[in-house]
Structures are given as structure tokens and as C-alpha cells.
């Protein structure tokens, strides 16, 4: 029988995680997850698996990954979560971190499909209950559109790797999430950031600039999805 001896996790990096998830009636948040993995408590696998599976399957649906790949992706996500658990740094919620891993697995599959020029067979033809805005995008599953969606997803993956924010700050990805979900005005953003209106506008421009740089990095050309006029 073997034991993990290389526990490099840094408590100070995750102890500020303030978000929680509920599993099987028990409260298991990021801190609890790290604590139990460090203790080599195998039962966290059983408790996390229903949620992990649902997140992985949801990511497959969100990224339009073909049905036949879903089982593989669930297994890959489980493996990555439990073999790379030390990379969870508390910068995001545990379930958001799992989703990011699932997103990465899906991107790998989509990228393989593009490489093989099998876009049409790698994505679902039908997505039940598409979310706001997705219907139109799914209507045209050309390779170009798929590449753009892939680019956006890769941008999100990279944004998710941003380390935990300094006190009083907020990560770009979290600002974007908050903006999309709450669709506030710039004044409300200023309140949220506890800053001036001008500074809030400045922050928006800064985030957009970062988005465009990342998008250009992944699209590899000036006509990327985030560029001006797109």
C-alpha cells in the first residue's frame, strides 16, 4: 500500500476560499476537499463524484461535445481532479475549478476534431434547451464558427488560471461572470468594485484589452472573435 508524500499545497493560498458546495448532504468546500485529500481520505471520491460527473456532462453539453465522448470525458475529469488536486489554489470555487478542468477536456476533444476536420461529427447536432444566445451559434456549425467558439473557451480557460486576487480586488474572469449574470450598469459596477465611475470604465477597457490579447493569441489572426467590429 502506498501513500502520497509530496503534499505541496500551500494552506495560505486556499484558506481564503469563501465558497462552498454541498455534497450528499455534507458540506464539502474547497478547504474541506484539500484537507481530506491531504489526509488521503478516499471517501471524498464518492461524495464528490455525483457533482463532478454532472459538471463534466454539463460541460460536454455546453461545448457541444459529441455524446459518445462523454463517458471518456467524465473519466478524464475524475482522473485530473484526483491526480492534480494540489493545483487547486482557492482562486475559484471548487465546482468552478472542476468545470474548468472539464472545459479543458472538452477543448482537447474539439481540437482533435478540428485537426481531423471532423467538426460536424464531433459536435452534437441537437442541444436541448440551449441557453441564451447559443441557438444562433449552433445553427451554423461551420469549422470557422467552431474555431471561434473554441477560441472563446480557451480564453476562459486561461482567465481561470489567474491566481487568487489581492485583497479588495477581483479576477477578470470573476468580473466577467458577475457582469453576465447581473448585467449591471457601469455605475453598479463602480459600486461593486468600490471605486469611481471613471475607474470602473477604465477597468472594463482593461478587461476587454486582456480578452482581445488572449483571443488573438488563440485565434492567431486579427479577425478573432473579440476584435473590434466582431
Amino acid at each position: 500500500m502506498t501513500f502520497v508524500t509530496d503534499c505541496r499545497y500551500n494552506q495560505s493560498r486556499w484558506s481564503k476560499a469563501t465558497t462552498h458546495i454541498w455534497l450528499s448532504g455534507d458540506r464539502v468546500d474547497g478547504e474541506e476537499f484539500m484537507r481530506r485529500m491531504k489526509r488521503q481520505d478516499f471517501r471524498v471520491w464518492d461524495e464528490l463524484m455525483p457533482k463532478l460527473r454532472k459538471i463534466a456532462l454539463g460541460a460536454c453539453r455546453d461545448l457541444n461535445v459529441y455524446d459518445q465522448l462523454k463517458d471518456d470525458i467524465v473519466q478524464n475529469v475524475a482522473l485530473k481532479v484526483f491526480t492534480n488536486w494540489q493545483s487547486f489554489n482557492g482562486g475559484s470555487k471548487l465546482n468552478t475549478w472542476i468545470y474548468a478542468i472539464a472545459r479543458n477536456c472538452c477543448i482537447d476533444e474539439l481540437r482533435k476534431s478540428i485537426t481531423r476536420n471532423e467538426a460536424s461529427s464531433a459536435i452534437c447536432e441537437v442541444v436541448d434547451e440551449p441557453v441564451d444566445g447559443l441557438i444562433g451559434l449552433l445553427a451554423d456549425d461551420s469549422n470557422s464558427d467552431m474555431e471561434q467558439r473554441l477560441c472563446v473557451q480557451q480564453v476562459l480557460v486561461e482567465l481561470e488560471t489567474e491566481p487568487p486576487p489581492r485583497k479588495g480586488s477581483i479576477r477578470k474572469i470573476d468580473l466577467l461572470r458577475w457582469w453576465v449574470i447581473h448585467h449591471p450598469s457601469t455605475e453598479e459596477l463602480a459600486d461593486f468594485l468600490k471605486t469611481s465611475l471613471a475607474a470602473a470604465k477604465e477597468r472594463k477597457s482593461y478587461v476587454l484589452k486582456a480578452l482581445r490579447e488572449l483571443c488573438h493569441k488563440y485565434c492567431g489572426h486579427d479577425e478573432c472573435a473579440m476584435s473590434e467590429g466582431h
Binding site: 471517501r43 473519466q75 482522473l79 441564451d132
Partner: protein, 231 residues
């Protein structure tokens, strides 16, 4: 920041908020983030009952492999076993995980093959178990759906006994505690000689492998039949 940049930024964020259209990048980003939000909300209601039995079996197999890799462990180490190495074979953890990924990902039917093997082993073994005279009185084979289940007085002790005996012969044993009263055990002899030894040792314990490898079974506590994990 010039007025053009500011206007461009405002337009992008307005589209990101869903108040404007015609900004493709913002709309795609919005779609992706909303889809993620919906998935995470749905996951809050996830239940163990959502997982089909066949999928659960495959996931259990992965858990067993992770346990063997040293990712997490509940049993005390047996003497002579080095940390971060697979018991019995001395394979480095990184190599093992790489092999595990290869095993799981490219041939997509691999998990199904495992499930089929286990199911076949169950059917054959269960048939033989009920027909053959048992070795030890303490064991009692019961039908557990898709896997052989053996009731013993003390599963943890029996697991330790099996591990001790087989690992002394260099035979890999993967044991996962499913709950307080139940264990899943997989024995993985790598050649004919090891398979013969394994079959003999398990037979002495009242367990008939049916000569199908790797052989997997569950040990349940006699004192608490309610501990049986879902099949």
C-alpha cells in the same frame, strides 16, 4: 483611452450584458459563461442515484487504480512497500498514471471491456461459488447484482490477510474501502504462475476466481448487511 476605444468597450460590455447584439465575441463569451452558470447550478442537485450502475462500476475501477497509484489510501502500508510506488511491481507513480491515462483514453471501449470482464467473472464465479464446497466457514457468498460479494466477520481483517498473503508472492492487490463495512478488492496476477498461486490462496479462503483475471469481488461485514453498496 480615447473616445473610440471607450465606445467600443461600452458596446462590448453592453452586448456581454445581453442589452445589445451584433458583437459576436461578446455574445459567444456571454453564451459560454451562462452555460457554465447553468451547469454549475444543475450540479447542486446531483445525487449518487444519478450514476448508472455500469458507469459506477467503471468509476470504481478508476478509484481502485488511483488507490493503487498512491493518490489516496486508507490501508496501512505493508512492510517493504515504498511510498509512491505501486505495490508488488515497484512502478513509479508518474509512470503508472501515464499508463492509466493511456489505458483509459485511446481505446474508448476499454472501460466497457473491464465492465464486461467483471460481469462475466461475476456470473461465472457466482455460479461456481454456489456449487463448490467453500474452504473457510467464515465466508459466505451472496448474490450482489453484478459482482461477487462475500460476507465475512471482519472485512478489514480479511482484506489485510489477502493483501499480506498475495503481496508476499509479488501479486498486486488493489483494495478500496467502500464504506465502514464494505471493501472492493481486485487482484491482478500478471502471469500464469501468479494466477495459479492467486487462485489457490483465494480458494483456501473460500473464494473461487473462476480463472478470470483480474478478479474483483466485494467483502461485506456479516454484522451489517445494510452496508452493502449499491450495485
Amino acid at each position: 483611452m480615447n473616445p473610440t476605444e471607450q465606445s467600443d468597450g461600452e458596446q462590448f460590455f453592453e452586448a456581454l450584458a445581453g442589452r445589445e447584439s451584433g458583437v459576436a465575441g461578446a455574445e459567444q463569451l456571454r453564451s459560454a459563461l451562462l452555460a457554465e452558470e447553468r451547469t454549475l447550478a444543475e450540479a447542486e442537485t446531483a445525487s449518487p442515484d444519478d450514476i448508472p450502475a455500469t458507469e459506477l462500476q467503471r468509476l470504481d475501477a478508476i478509484k481502485a487504480q488511483l488507490l493503487a497509484s498512491g493518490t489516496f489510501s486508507v490501508l496501512p502500508p505493508t512492510s517493504g512497500t515504498e511510498p509512491n510506488r505501486l505495490s508488488g511491481r515497484g512502478e513509479p507513480k508518474a509512470d503508472f498514471l501515464s499508463r492509466l491515462f493511456n489505458w483509459l483514453t485511446p481505446p474508448r471501449l476499454a472501460p466497457f471491456a473491464i465492465a464486461a470482464t467483471v460481469t462475466l467473472a461475476v456470473l461465472v464465479t457466482y455460479q461456481q461459488q454456489v456449487e463448490s464446497p467453500t474452504g473457510l466457514n467464515e465466508t459466505e457468498v451472496v448474490r450482489g447484482g453484478e459482482i461477487v460479494e462475500i460476507q465475512v466477520e471482519n472485512p478489514t481483517q480479511t482484506v489485510a490477510q489477502i493483501r499480506h498473503t498475495l503481496e508476499q508472492q509479488g501479486i498486486e492487490v488493489v483494495a478500496v474501502q467502500l464504506n465502514e463495512q464494505a471493501w472492493a478488492v481486485q487482484v491482478r496476477p500478471i502471469n500464469e504462475a501468479q494466477r495459479a498461486v492467486t487462485a489457490r490462496i483465494l480458494s483456501d479462503l473460500g473464494i473461487n476466481t473462476g480463472d478470470i483475471w483480474p478478479f474483483m469481488f466485494r467483502l461485506l461485514s456479516k454484522s451489517n448487511t445494510a452496508s452493502r453498496p449499491p450495485s
